[in-house]
Amino acid sequence: MSQSVAPLERSLSRVDRVHPSARVRHFDQLSESAQEYVIAWASDDAVPNVLPEDLRADDVVVFTDYLHVA
């Protein structure tokens, strides 16, 4: 499966509402690489351009905010 390529500034964004059809996962359910990705994004650190394999477009990740994967 090919990996998505997501520029840093568009990879994740905070959202207030979640569509009922969204795939929603808590931070604890992510792979280690996806957790590192979220932590880096939340810390404004450099984020890899390649989205981790277990994150896909329109996913929502529950962290300290709800984060939508662009």
């Binding site: 009922p20 996962r25 957790q35 939340a42 300290t64």
Partner: protein, 412 residues
Amino acid sequence: MTESYVIIGDGIAGSSAAETLREEAPDADITVITDEGEALYNRILIKEFAKGKLPEAPISIHDESWYDERDVELRLNTHVKNLDPDAHTLETHEEEVIDYDKLLVATGGTPTQLPVDNSDAEGIHHFWTFQDARRIKESAESGEKAVIVGAGLLGIDLAAISGAQDIEAKYLMRGDAWWRYALSVEGAEIMHNAMRDIGVEPVFGSGVDHFETDDDGHVTAAVDPNGDRFECDWAGVAIGLNFNTEILQGTSVKQDGGVVVDQHMQSSVDDIYAAGDLTRFYDTILGEYGQNGSWGSAKEQGTIAAKNMVDPESAEFRWVSSYSITHFDFPFLSFGHPTIGDDEVEKKYSDTEYRRLALKDGKIVGGVLIGDLAPQSAYKRLMKEERVVGDQKEVLMQKKFDPDDLAPTQEQ
């Protein structure tokens, strides 16, 4: 002859086992039995539903078609009342006898009730199932005051639900700090302040002596051992789990504060395995038996058990668990076994940033990170490698921790 695998429990441990069994044994008969009325749902996210932030639909993980597609027989609302390990059979509440070649017990637990008067009153909630979350949400949306009991990882979820639902809540704790077995008072104070910020007031040296009720049997107040009275429209209690091991009574499956299994998830009785919250497993990293109730650990245990049910002793459970709290402006994460060890090191970096590592024989066995979770992967790796680092505490506590800064391990 076709192998027959039966799984009791459709939480993440049972479900991951079913998925793995189908991959490893394409022709086997696989049956999943659960006394719940719904298939696997996302237990981690039910707190978000109860907070009123997440709709119900995304909580569901598997619908019944998931089982059909994998040719797994799912039996909802089915209670197993008897198990005969010698005959390799179990009996359901409808007195149906089901044969198995290999059995996985993944029945989890049931919240412990407070041993005080009126603890079963209307409006007193425990928080474990989706149904619990629905009831808590209903109470939170109609009430104004709540009492929370249980100063641990589940209790703080109830506190966060109260905060999100604009409930004025008192969080009654017996000791002087939240999760005092894993955090110092200094570290816990960061969490206390976060609770206060959302309208939840920690009350220390407290607890519950009894609950008061109205004429309809609905809770109206909690009274603590000091005689202080806390009015409430509902109460949330999270003081622990009783493991659902009734079906093992009368069998010789060894239990010791949980179902004892080896690193292959094999119990003391042939062809019976266990996975998930209810296990007391041999932790190959610690070199002793341990317990863990995290989602990731349960999922991995289910997978490992399934592999060994198909091919005995082919896979070993070797896992550093973690559990995060994401209710506040800053994240919190615990990993491994932060409540054990013979040594520790901690550091507070700011009002919202703190770390503590638990060490045993110089090795990291667990820890807590508040604020900055970036070092978690490195700490977990050191733990898994069983590397002796207890003599390098300053390096471990560097704000930007880099494992390359650690002195090389000395050859013994």
